[in-house]
Structures are given as structure tokens and as C-alpha cells.
């Protein structure tokens, strides 16, 4: 049977009418990107600041107090509690009252003058041998990000403490940070968020769309008509391409106005990358809809895809840091390829065609998925 544009148009019109009546879904189309962007952009921050910590000050001198002030001036930690003994401090860490405790020993001033970092140049070797750390950090190491932040304090300069000129060290390497010199996490997160939100909404909408027809009994009527499976599939996913485009503009627009996420690439490149990914996600939703028996099942399968898309795609953790098997899984997910594409386009102004592996992969995924969905759909008739 020939593919009829009229029948596809009939399905598209019907979908749009139904969508316009379903106010909740319509609201979610706008609210999901809006709320999630605000949430994630504010919440996800790998530069940890203001970690609540305690202090055990055995020395109780003005020097120890100045030391506390210098450390707290870094902004990484905030002293919230003070304890009498190390034991009490450990208890406070156990009960999650503070994440770490700074223990200042009695002889802090002697330790300080022997310390190489205080700015007298290299001390004589006799003193070097006797030099010891000034104070000790006791850290709840279970959260690696927090532990890492406090570990970064290990070599903090203490020049202000003694009002001496800095002990200038020439760094081994010069580092130039491209694309995100201020090291703000939002710059990396907002483009990635496009992938996560599109994965969620696109797969969810389409996977539910066909299952709903089955649940409500409409499918029994549709299969007696001349409507071909491929026409139904195309008609079903077509309206969601626009919805996807609306969501992308919300996320990138707000990212630009609210969070100063630079937008370096061309709109055409962005449109190409986004369209490829929307199609891949919609087709994935279609495949799910041919497997799921009801809307609950389709929802569960959407989450099954969504979680690895958030955790393995490079949205939260760098792809390079994952073990090989996880990288294989990540390669299979459309979100991984799209995150590479959109970060390339938005942040580095790369043309999609230059990242042809990711582009081709999305195209192949879409075609293959459409084939699988159409074949599987035919089977469900009997």
C-alpha cells in the first residue's frame, strides 16, 4: 500500500487536537524544561563551597584564631561548630553535624615558624627535618567531591598570616582554559540538560502515545482501516518534533539570559543536531511502545533508558573517566552522541558535519529503530 500524506496529516491533526485538550501534558511540555533547568543549573555545582566544618582548638591563641579566619576566607568551608576534644569532634562527624573538623594542636606557633610555606625561603635542613604540618583535618571521606575540596586546602598558602611577601613558585605547566575560563559548571550543564530533558519527554510521550491507543481500544478500530503502520508511526511522532524544538529553545534561551551560557555556534547547526536527536529519541519511544502492554510499562521502560542517559552520557560525569564496559553502554545511547554534538555546537562552534561519527550514529539509530518499530507493530495485529 502506498504511503498517503492525507492519512498522515489526519493522524497529526488528531494528535494535536488531543494534545491541546490534555492540559496537563501541555503544561508539562513547558514546565519540565523550565523547572528542571532552574533546578539543575542552580543545584548541580562541582565547585563545592561553604562546607560546614567544626574546629578543635587546643591552642586557644590569637594565632590559632587568625589561622581559622584565613582558612574560612577561602570560602570553601564555614566553621559552624567548636568542640573541646577530638572525640567530641569525631562524634559530630558521625552524626553528620559537620563534614570535617580542623584540629589545631597546642604548639601551633612553633610548628608555624618551622613551616616552609610561611615565606622565609627554604629553611635550614635541620629545621626542615623537624617541620611538621601546622594543623590536621579530619574529614568524612565518603563523599569524594567534598573530600577533594578539603584536600585542596592541604597546600594552601599562609602568607597573609604573617604579612610576608609570597614565596613565588614557578608552576611546572602553564594551563590555558578554553571555552569556560571561569570554570562555571552551568556552561557545561545547560547544553547537556537539553539532552536529558529531550530524552525524558520525547521517549515518554511517544512510548505512551501508541500504547494509549491500545489501552483505550482505538487500535482495534484503526487496524480495520486502510491506515498503514508506518503512516501511523510518522503521524504520531511528527507533532512531537515541534514540541522538542520548543523545549530546546526554552532551555538554551533561559540558559543564555539567566545563566550567561555562551552561545557560540550557528542556529542551523544547532537545529540539525537537535532534529537528529529528537528523531532518534522519538523512534526509541516508538520501539518501546511496540513492546509495552500498557502505559505503566512504557513509563518503566522510559526510566530504564533515562537513568543511564543521565549518568553515563557524559552529562554528569566525564565519559573518559568511565571504565570500558560503561563506555560501550554509553556509546549505545543516543544521548551520549547528542551531548557531544550540542556541546560542540553551542560552546565550541563546531559544525555538525565535523563530528560526523556522532551524526551518522544518530541517523543510523533512527532508521534502524523505525524499521524495528514498523516490523514489530505489524506482528501485534495478529
Amino acid at each position: 500500500m502506498k504511503i498517503s500524506l492525507l492519512r498522515i496529516q489526519a493522524i497529526v491533526t488528531k494528535e494535536l487536537l488531543q494534545l491541546s485538550r490534555d492540559r496537563m501534558t501541555f503544561a508539562m511540555v513547558i514546565m519540565i524544561p523550565l523547572v528542571q533547568l532552574l533546578l539543575f543549573a542552580f543545584a548541580i555545582n562541582t565547585n563545592v563551597r561553604n562546607i560546614p566544618v567544626g574546629v578543635v582548638d587546643h591552642s586557644q591563641t590569637s594565632l590559632s584564631r587568625v589561622l581559622q579566619q584565613t582558612v574560612s576566607a577561602t570560602g570553601i568551608i564555614t566553621f559552624t561548630h567548636s568542640y573541646h576534644s577530638v572525640k567530641a569532634a569525631q562524634k559530630a562527624i558521625d552524626s553528620n553535624e559537620v563534614r570535617a573538623v580542623l584540629i589545631i594542636p597546642k604548639d601551633v606557633s612553633q610548628r608555624l615558624v618551622r613551616h616552609p610555606s610561611v615565606g622565609f625561603g627554604l629553611p635550614p635542613s635541620s629545621k626542615q627535618e623537624t617541620s611538621r604540618p601546622i594543623a590536621q583535618w579530619l574529614v568524612d571521606g565518603s563523599d569524594t567531591v567534598i573530600a577533594g575540596s578539603i584536600k585542596s586546602l592541604r597546600n594552601m598558602p599562609l602568607v597573609e598570616l604573617l604579612d610576608k611577601p609570597a614565596n613565588r613558585n614557578t608552576p611546572t605547566f602553564e594551563v590555558t582554559l578554553l571555552y569556560n575560563p571561569e570554570q562555571r559548571s552551568v556552561v557545561n550543564i545547560v547544553p547537556g540538560l537539553v539532552a536529558v530533558i529531550l530524552t525524558m519527554t520525547m521517549i515518554m510521550f511517544t512510548s505512551a502515545a501508541i500504547v494509549r491507543e491500545q489501552e483505550r481500544g482505538n487500535m482495534e478500530m484503526l487496524i480495520t482501516t486502510p491506515l498503514a503502520p508506518i503512516e501511523l508511526m510518522i503521524g504520531k511522532i511528527f507533532p512531537y518534533i515541534f514540541i522538542g524544538a520548543i523545549q530546546v529553545s526554552i532551555i538554551l534561551g533561559l540558559g543564555y539570559w539567566l545563566f550567561d551560557v555562551p552561545f557560540n555556534g550557528g542556529l542551523t547547526q544547532l537545529a540539525i543536531a537537535t532534529l537528529l536527536f529528537i528523531c532518534a529519541s522519538l523512534v526509541l519511544g516508538l520501539v518501546i511502545s511496540t513492546i509495552a502492554k500498557n502505559q505503566l510499562q512504557s513509563m518503566q521502560m522510559t526510566i530504564f533508558i533515562l537513568l543511564p542517559s543521565i549518568l553515563l552520557s557524559g552529562f554528569m560525569f566525564p565519559y573518559e573517566g568511565m571504565p570500558q564496559p560503561a563506555q560501550y553502554i554509553a556509546e549505545a545511547l543516543p544521548a551520549t552522541h547528542f551531548i557531544r554534538l550540542i556541546r560542540g555546537v553551542v560552546l565550541r562552534d563546531v559544525a555538525v558535519i565535523e563530528m560526523n561519527f556522532d551524526m551518522l550514529w544518530l541517523i543510523t539509530f533512527t532508521c534502524f529503530g523505525l524499521l524495528v518499530a514498523a516490523l514489530r507493530f505489524k506482528k501485534t495485529l495478529d
Binding site: R7, R216, N218, M221, T225, L227, D382
Partner: protein, 323 residues
């Protein structure tokens, strides 16, 4: 074989022509035989009924005849199309009204009909005239802007029928069309069906209502996927393999329990103040047989009455059919 049936369907014309011709039709679902050895001939421009209890294979039979299900074995020829190979060709010529309301609840009457007409490829002009025609014949003009969800059972059913005939099918399948509507709506619905039939449509309808079955030109009684009887309702009643005796007595429940144990009694059912007893035709004098029973008192009144379609149904199916 295939060629000859198709040739027969094409050569013969006029109302003797067959809309449906199925031979030795079988369909199994795993171990279960949903339809076994069904022979079926439906003449054009008639209303043909499938009468049977729930699970008797009515819906499966309709799905086989519409090409939605593939038969396990047997031959089907519908409107000259050989099924299941030519199912796609048949789609444009048949209409199917499902058991459950299967249009869109969140679309209006008009939007539903517009959708279906586009699916059947009606042009914009055809669509306009056909829609207003359908809305008036099915008394839906008032509701055309109403959401299908908010309509009554009768209105929904009229909408479903309008949608099923939008492309003027030659053959219309109705699967228990009136199970959710009141008797008044059922009457009007059947008037519509006779109008359609008069205009040349062949209709195949499944039902478990006796009064509905009685309206059909011809009837097949199905049980457990097997055709038990097949004729006009009148002929079925005349040729029934049992006689009906009505008993008017005081202790009907007790009499029923006693009589049902007799080998020649097929069934006994109470209808108000009477007991309706079906006696096998092998018994020449059913009244005499019953009167000889100890549970019947001399004062009780016994009379042979005209059989109803329900009697035919009972004598063909269940225990009666097995005996």
C-alpha cells in the same frame, strides 16, 4: 479451489451473489480451538446474525472474516477477496464496528468523523457532504461539537455506526453493537440497519440478545467455536429438535428439579408463573410423558406452545446440543 470460489463470486450476480463464503474455517489460540470447521455463506444485501453466548467465538469469527486474524486452516472469500492474502484490498470495502467504543473520547463528534473520513481518503468536498448527511441520518447534528466522552451510550453507538459506514462499505461487521444501549435505542438502531441493508449493504452482526437475533434475515448459532444451527429464525423455530410444554403449577421450583432428571427433557426454565419445558422430539406425546410424572398433580395445566428463539438456542447449545 481458490480460483473456483473467486470465479463463482464474480460470475453470479443479483442478490444470490455471496458476500461471504467460508469453508472449513479453523482458528486455534494455542491449545484452544476458538473456531472449528465453520462453513459460512452470507448472501449479499442481507442481515446475517451470529448468536452465541460469551466466548462462543463470535468476535474471533468476525476478526477472521475482516482479515484481522489469520485462519489456522480453511478458506475465506469475502467480497471476492481471498483472505488473508488480499486483506488490504478488502479494507476499503468493509466497515467494522467494534464491541467496545473505539473512537476518540477526547475528540468531538465532528472531529472523530473528519478523522475517519481522511483515513478512508475522502476528498474535502466529499467529506463535507458525507458528514452532514451522516450527522442528520444518525441524529447527531445537535451533538456535532460535543466531546464523544460526554455522550450517552445510545449517542456513542450512533456515532460508531456513522464512523463505520463513512466510506459506504459494501459489507458491514457489527460486533455486539447494542450491548450498552436501552431497548428504545436498540429499536432505532435496527431501523438504521434495515435502511442500510435496503441501500445494498450486507450486514453481519453478532449478538447474545434473542430479540435482536430474531430480526436477522438469517442466523447462525455458535457455541464453543462450532456452528450448531444455521437458517432463518422462522425455520430454526419450526425445525427445532424439541417441543415446548408450558406448565402452570404452584410448586414450580420443585417440579423443575424433578423433571430435569428425565432423559428426554432437554431443559426446564421458569418464566414467571409458568415452567417452560423442552422435550426431545423423539417423544411423541410430551404432555402425556410429563403428566405421568409423580411431581405433576392432576390439577396442573400442561400445554404445547409455539417455540421461541430462546428455545432454539437452548436446544442447540449447552447440554441440549450435546445430547
Amino acid at each position: 479451489m481458490i480460483l473456483t470460489t473467486r470465479a463463482a463470486a464474480n460470475n453470479t450476480t443479483y442478490h444470490r451473489d455471496l458476500a461471504i463464503n467460508a469453508k472449513k474455517l479453523c482458528r486455534n489460540f494455542g491449545q484452544l480451538a476458538a473456531i472449528s470447521n465453520l462453513d459460512l455463506t452470507v448472501e449479499k444485501q442481507t442481515i446475517y446474525g451470529f448468536l452465541g453466548p460469551n466466548g462462543s467465538g463470535k468476535t474471533t469469527a468476525i476478526r477472521l472474516l475482516t482479515g484481522l486474524l489469520k485462519p489456522t486452516s480453511g478458506q475465506i472469500n469475502v467480497l471476492g477477496c481471498h483472505l488473508p492474502q488480499e486483506a488490504n484490498k478488502l479494507r476499503l470495502q468493509i466497515g467494522y464496528m467494534t464491541q467496545k467504543f473505539s473512537l476518540y473520547d477526547d475528540l468531538t463528534v465532528k472531529e472523530n468523523l473528519q478523522f475517519i473520513s481522511k483515513i478512508y481518503g475522502l476528498t474535502a468536498n466529499e467529506q463535507k457532504s458525507r458528514l452532514s448527511e451522516l450527522l442528520s441520518t444518525h441524529q447527531l447534528s445537535q451533538q456535532s461539537q460535543q466531546l464523544a466522552d460526554s455522550m450517552s451510550g445510545g449517542q456513542k453507538q450512533r456515532l460508531a455506526l456513522a464512523a463505520a459506514v463513512i466510506h459506504k462499505p459494501k459489507l458491514l461487521f457489527l460486533d455486539e453493537p447494542t450491548s450498552a444501549v436501552d431497548p428504545q435505542n436498540r429499536r432505532e438502531f435496527w431501523e438504521q440497519l434495515f435502511d442500510l441493508c435496503d441501500q445494498g449493504t450486507t450486514i453481519l452482526v453478532s449478538t447474545h440478545y434473542m430479540d435482536e437475533a430474531e430480526r436477522c434475515h438469517k442466523l447462525a448459532i455458535l457455541e464453543n467455536g462450532v456452528k450448531r444451527a444455521d437458517d432463518t429464525p422462522q425455520a430454526l423455530m419450526n425445525n427445532m429438535a424439541a417441543q415446548v410444554v408450558e406448565i402452570a403449577a404452584s410448586d414450580l421450583r420443585y417440579i423443575k428439579d424433578k423433571l430435569i432428571q428425565l432423559p428426554l427433557v432437554i431443559s426446564a426454565a421458569q418464566l414467571g408463573t409458568h415452567l417452560r419445558v423442552l422435550v426431545n422430539k423423539a417423544e411423541r406425546d410430551p404432555v402425556g410423558l410429563l403428566q405421568r410424572q409423580s411431581c405433576i398433580r392432576p390439577t396442573d395445566q400442561l400445554a404445547i406452545v409455539r417455540p421461541s428463539l430462546e428455545d432454539v438456542f437452548v436446544s442447540c447449545t449447552g447440554q441440549g446440543g450435546a445430547r
